[in-house]
């Protein structure tokens, strides 16, 4: 910061130190600066805290369940005489929701981002942006209600209608249960759409105007300018937005808990009930389970997997963001 260079001048400091008022002023300054530093450093404490707690609390779990059987087990059953703690069904449940949400949010979000940055007149932008912000601010629980009361009935009605007009194809249509992965994925896609659109808009707006003008000058249509010049130039930022949306979908909890169900099973059928890692954590937390219980310990093991997945995704996204910033 250039302004700070001014205060860095040594003579300025010795000048303020010369008077008593000046001295108290520099002391105040030092104290405030120290306090502000502590606050900033607190974020590091939080990260270290999260990491160490997930790690420490899951150690007792891994002493009873070997890591290999946790990571490769295909059944998660906490009840009964022979409880099984295999995380795979939870991971595939999360994967199904995440991929499904990406199918909804990525193309829609990208197109909205293009519309906002390239086509929308400023009046439309002024209305559309707050609407998208509001959509981003709708609580997760509300999306859960939406999935249950509208999306799932819609999916069921849709397949019923399709079976009627195309009876030969009916074996290929999934049968949608009251709670199903598809509804969860769709609403999570809606939730992450504003994230994709606003980050894509930022990335596209950051593309220098010269590039557009050069392409127009060569006789390109607007669609050609966007698809062949602007989007490739904004590529890093756009990819970052996609990855961040997926990472958000992995960590999404309430809508998925309500919409996708509570049966951990290894399936890729979007009509089936699935349980995500986050939903499992909620499920255990809702019951009153004490600290020594293996079920209590198991949520920290799941939390560790969840944290690592989102952490890696975020690092990749940041890599792309930095790439974009570096090129500008």
């Amino acid at each position: 910061m250039a302004s700070a260079d001014l205060t860095n001048i040594k003579s300025n400091r010795s000048f303020t130190k010369s008077s008593a008022i000046g001295k108290s002023r520099t002391i105040t300054q030092a104290i405030v600066r120290g306090l502000c530093f502590i606050c900033a450093a607190f974020s590091i404490v939080a990260t270290v805290g999260i990491f160490s707690i997930l790690f420490l609390e899951s150690i007792p779990f891994f002493q009873q369940i070997p890591i290999s059987s946790f990571l490769t087990g295909t059944k998660w059953e906490m009840m009964g005489n022979d409880p099984k703690y295999g995380v795979l069904p939870l991971v595939t449940g999360t994967l199904l929701i995440t991929i499904g949400s990406g199918i909804v949010s990525i193309p829609l979000g990208l197109c909205v981002g293009i519309y906002l940055s390239e086509y929308a007149p400023s009046k439309v932008r002024k209305i559309l942006k707050p609407i998208l912000e509001l959509l981003a601010g709708v609580p997760s629980v509300v999306f859960g209600y939406f999935a249950l009361s509208l999306v799932t009935p819609g999916l069921r009605g849709g397949t019923e209608y399709l079976t009627q007009i195309l009876p030969t194809l009916s074996p290929f249509f999934p049968e949608f249960r009251p709670a199903n992965a598809a509804a969860g994925a769709i609403v999570v896609g809606f939730m992450t759409l504003p994230l994709v659109s606003s980050l894509c808009e930022d990335a596209i707006t950051a593309v220098p105007k010269v590039l557009r003008e050069a392409a127009f000058g060569l006789g390109c249509t607007k669609a050609e300018v966007i698809s062949k010049v602007v989007l490739p130039a904004a590529f890093s930022g756009i990819v970052a937005s996609f990855i961040l949306a997926l990472s958000r979908a992995v960590g999404e909890t309430m809508a998925v808990t309500i919409a996708a169900g509570a049966t951990p099973q290894l399936t890729f059928n979007p009509g089936n009930e699935v349980m995500t890692m986050t939903a499992q954590i909620v499920n255990v937390s809702k019951g009153d389970i004490s600290r020594g219980d293996i079920r209590y310990q198991s949520i920290f093991a799941i939390g560790l997997v969840l944290f690592l997945i989102t952490f890696v995704l975020n690092l990749i996204a940041q890599h792309y963001v930095r790439k974009m910033a570096g090129r500008r």
Binding site: S3, I53, E57, Y115, P139, G303
Partner: protein, 294 residues
């Protein structure tokens, strides 16, 4: 793109023009869908729940037995507690951290860059993981139990990265000349920050606080983990009382088999959305006024 447009045969130009129009319509259509999603959602909730919203609904406590008389008083009070406490905890820390990162760092050295990357990472951590931090740290290690205080502290750590990032943006937007003028008059850096920079950045900081507040009343998952319960039939008296929040009450009602509870859930969603829309419009008004000032 390989050949200039005027050399192409007319048929090709026609095709390109059509493709151009098609591309534009797709983008417009996507924007339309985004708006339609929000409208459908609001429409559905209003149709389901508007008949149920009344002063009695707000002032009655939830009840398992009488779905018709159940209200949202205790969860609403719980949400207000969580929101207020979160703001009280997070604003001083968040603003101070942002001031350090934007104003007190002469050159962005390694430590500052590390803190910055760390904050972005923290912002991407799933909310439920913060709940697990709270469960282990506040409930067990510090021994605050499953209280409102635990919930608010957990929520504060959750919204902290957002407050820091938004405040940093607000500070960045203050013109350099403000700082230079103040420093040239002989103020220390802290005086400059306090009297020249912060007053100018206040609207931006307020927007950040409002965003944090709306996040704090909308989030549910971390509170479930740190022990907010589904059904509490009386508002909390003190900070270590058991409590519930509005989204959690909604979750509870959605899970009930009776139709009346689903309607109550829709009505509670309406109240929650109403609160959020009020907060959001506040933020928009503040921003518009700031832009008008230039």
């Amino acid at each position: 793109m390989s050949t200039p447009a005027f050399l192409n045969p007319p048929a090709h130009t026609q095709k390109r023009k059509r493709r151009n129009l098609f591309f534009q319509s797709i983008c417009l259509f996507a924007a339309f869908i985004a708006v339609a999603i929000l409208c459908t959602l609001i429409y559905k909730v209003v149709v389901d729940g508007v008949g149920r919203v009344s002063l009695d609904f707000i002032k009655a406590n939830p009840s398992q037995m009488f779905p018709d008389k159940a209200g949202i008083w205790s969860p609403l009070v719980g949400s207000m507690y969580i929101m207020a406490l979160t703001i009280i905890f997070v604003v001083p820390v968040g603003v101070a951290a942002a001031i350090y990162l934007e104003e007190f760092t002469y050159r962005k050295n390694r430590l500052v860059r590390f803190i910055q990357v760390n904050i972005s990472n923290l912002a991407g951590v799933p909310s439920i993981v913060f709940g697990m931090l709270g469960l282990s740290l506040f409930v067990t290690v510090i021994g605050l139990g499953k209280s409102i205080l635990t919930g608010a502290l957990t929520m504060s750590i959750l919204v902290l990265p957002m407050v820091i990032l938004v405040t940093q943006e607000a500070l960045k937007a203050v013109p350099k000349s403000y700082r230079e003028a103040s420093l040239a008059l002989g103020s220390t850096q802290w005086q400059t920050i306090r009297r020249a920079v912060i007053p100018r950045a206040i609207p931006g900081i307020l927007t950040g606080i409002i965003l944090a507040a709306s996040r704090a009343i909308g989030e549910t998952a971390p509170l479930i983990v740190v022990g907010a319960v589904g059904l509490v039939t009386f508002p909390p008296d003190s900070l270590d009382d058991r409590y519930t929040v509005l989204p959690l009450q909604i979750l509870d009602w959605i899970g009930q088999p009776k139709e009346e509870f689903r309607i109550a859930a829709a009505a509670a969603i309406l109240v929650l959305m109403g609160l959020l829309i009020v907060l959001n419009s506040l933020a928009i008004i503040i921003r518009a006024r700031q832009q008008a000032k230039g």
